[in-house]
């Protein structure tokens, strides 16, 4: 398939998942991600897969748990309130070290909120997502092409580290249409000797479980898991730098906020302001080192977010007081305009960022 196709972000996720060998869909509809389910409903019967609309998000995530335990590549998708419902299952997946791909096409909140785009589930996604000590790998696409590519990458990372990969998109990324090339490498799922596939009386049986009767043993699994997380933080960080070579002002933005910011940066550059951007592609692990390095030369940071300011906390931790970090935001389903971001850049320049 070398020719480009015009796809919605949600469709790109669905088709990429199929290319990555995914054959079982469990989900429950919610705007703005329902196209993923609709696409799977059309495609799965044609390729020998299973489409199942579960009775709830809770049911869907537990079906994911079950299929993952058998070693198959598995995913589910939802939007903000639905992800909250899946929370218990996300923690159980972590406790049982099961790989899965979970898509969150965020909408405005809190509560039932609205159906317009948002990034206000950043804390939920990057700080664990539910009860207990755990992390998910969090991938933030900024184009329809990346929706597809990060889905494939997400499956590979999930299998490699036996964790949940979360695609943290937003309503705009899910709904926008862009040409996509689906002509990329997909890795087959690795061997999974831990999977529950039947012993055929030739090996000891495998157990998939997140209940531990002895606290010492539960503590040991936590410490081991965090060794793995440390390795991931060293090896799996993904980010994009834009015009950072000589930047004195640095924008931190991901997803749709990064696209808006790019336009604002181009306009500010035309006015002679030295501004650039670090766009985290992995939100966990966060590009802490990249921001810390930038803080050696950058005079001001601006975090552009579709939330009341969540990622800004990670930027501040990374910058570690070396430069001021300010927020440029909209919330509740609204998107910052390039003009708003440009005004924030000009304001920073006036304060001596340039």
């Amino acid at each position: 398939m070398s020719e480009k196709v015009l796809m919605k972000g949600n469709e790109a996720i669905a088709e990429a998942a199929i290319l990555a060998g995914y054959r079982h869909y469990f989900g429950y509809p919610i705007t703005p991600q329902t196209e993923i389910a609709a696409y799977m409903a059309k495609r799965m019967p044609k390729i020998g897969g299973t489409f199942l609309q579960a009775e709830s998000e809770v049911a869907a995530i537990n079906m994911v748990y079950g299929v993952s335990a058998t070693g198959k590549r598995v995913m589910t998708s939802s939007s903000s309130p639905g992800i909250s419902l899946k929370g218990e299952g996300l923690s159980y997946l972590a406790g049982a070290d099961l790989p899965a791909l979970v898509v969150n096409v965020q909408r405005g909140g809190p509560g039932l909120g609205g159906i317009q785009p948002s990034q206000s589930d950043y804390f939920q996604a990057t700080k664990g997502g539910a009860h207990g000590d755990f992390h998910m790998l969090v991938l933030a696409p900024a184009s329809v092409q990346e929706m597809a590519e990060l889905t494939v990458k997400g499956f590979a990372l999930a299998d490699k580290y036996r964790m949940t990969s979360m695609i943290l998109a937003d309503g705009t990324m899910g709904q926008m249409m862009e040409p996509v090339s689906l002509d990329f490498e997909t890795e087959q799922a690795p061997e999974k000797p831990w999977a529950v596939t039947g012993t055929k009386l030739q090996r000891k049986h495998n157990i998939v479980n997140s209940l531990f009767l002895k606290p010492e043993e539960l503590e040991r699994t936590n410490f081991e898991r965090y060794e793995r997380y440390k390795y991931i933080e060293e090896n799996e960080v993904m980010y994009e730098e834009y015009m950072m070579e000589d930047a004195e002002i640095c924008i931190a933005a991901f997803g749709i906020a990064a696209r808006v910011s790019k336009n604002a940066i181009n306009e500010a550059r035309a006015k002679g302001i030295k501004v650039g951007m670090i766009r985290p592609i992995t939100l966990w692990p966060f590009p802490t080192k990249q921001f810390a390095k930038a803080a050696e030369t950058v005079k001001q940071f601006i975090s552009v977010e579709l939330s009341m300011g969540q990622m800004i906390e990670d930027v501040r931790l990374a910058v570690n007081g070396k430069a001021p970090v300010t927020l440029c935001n909209r919330a509740g389903g609204m998107i910052p305009s390039p003009e708003q971001v440009l005004a924030a850049i000009e304001d920073a320049a006036k304060k001596g960022g340039n």
């Binding site: 088709e15 705007t31 696409y39």
Partner: protein, 219 residues
């Protein structure tokens, strides 16, 4: 071409129906005094005819759509006013139908009156670059599913093949053979190919086959 009293635009989800329907309504208005466009999409809460509300109002085209379109109220609602399209025989009506067979279900409610009056066109909008209408079989399947769900048969095809902002003249010209193949297989006339305004200069003098259209604003 003598327009029928009702023109219905239907097709695969994301094929560009709404955009074509709005453009068609504006052209109709150049010839006829009373033109109304009704958005009967029950599938998609975004990218609605309502996006073109101002443009339609400026040109005197009546817009009929659910008061919930483009709002946070995410429910599949139909406007009661849509019956004006079938009841008021003095107007020219354009129907913008939701995508695929799920969207076409809503059209089924109006189908008996439309069939009875028998003064309509139902146009299949095709984009060969959409993932589920890339070959003849899948395009024909989508058409059949819509016909079953709506209780109406297609009478014409418009080729709206495009790759969004990246569309080239080559993409457009290269899509015509496929569109003709689909129309021939479905045994319906092939009306024309649409060309987004940014490319219209490449097709100067060929407007009969390559019709320039305005793109409506998106969020």
């Amino acid at each position: 071409m003598q327009e029928k009293r009702i023109t219905i635009f239907s097709g695969h989800y994301g094929s560009g129906k709404t955009n074509i329907a709005v453009n068609y309504a504006l052209r109709l208005r150049e010839k006829h005094e009373k033109v109304a466009i009704a958005d009967i999409d029950i599938v998609n809460p975004y990218f609605r005819t309502k996006d073109s509300e101002e443009l339609l109002r400026l040109h005197g085209v009546r817009l009929i759509c659910s008061s919930y379109a483009n709002s946070n109220v995410d429910i599949p609602a139909l406007p009661a006013e849509m019956y004006a399209i079938t009841d008021d025989k003095s107007l020219y009506g354009v129907l913008d139908v939701g995508g695929d067979e799920r969207g076409a279900l809503a059209l089924g409610r109006l189908a008996p009156a439309i069939r009875e009056e028998n003064n309509y066109e139902m146009v299949f909008v095709l984009n060969k670059f959409r993932p589920l209408t890339r070959d003849l079989d899948s395009a024909l399947t989508v058409m059949k599913e819509i016909e079953w769900a709506s209780g109406l048969s297609f009478t014409a095809l418009i080729n709206n093949s495009n790759l969004g902002a990246e569309t080239t003249e080559h993409d457009v010209r290269g899509s015509v053979a496929f569109a003709k193949e689909v129309a021939d297989a479905a045994e319906i006339p092939f009306w024309y190919t649409t060309v987004h305004e940014s490319l219209s200069s490449c097709f100067a003098g060929e407007e009969a086959c390559y019709r320039p259209i305005l793109l409506q604003k998106r969020m």
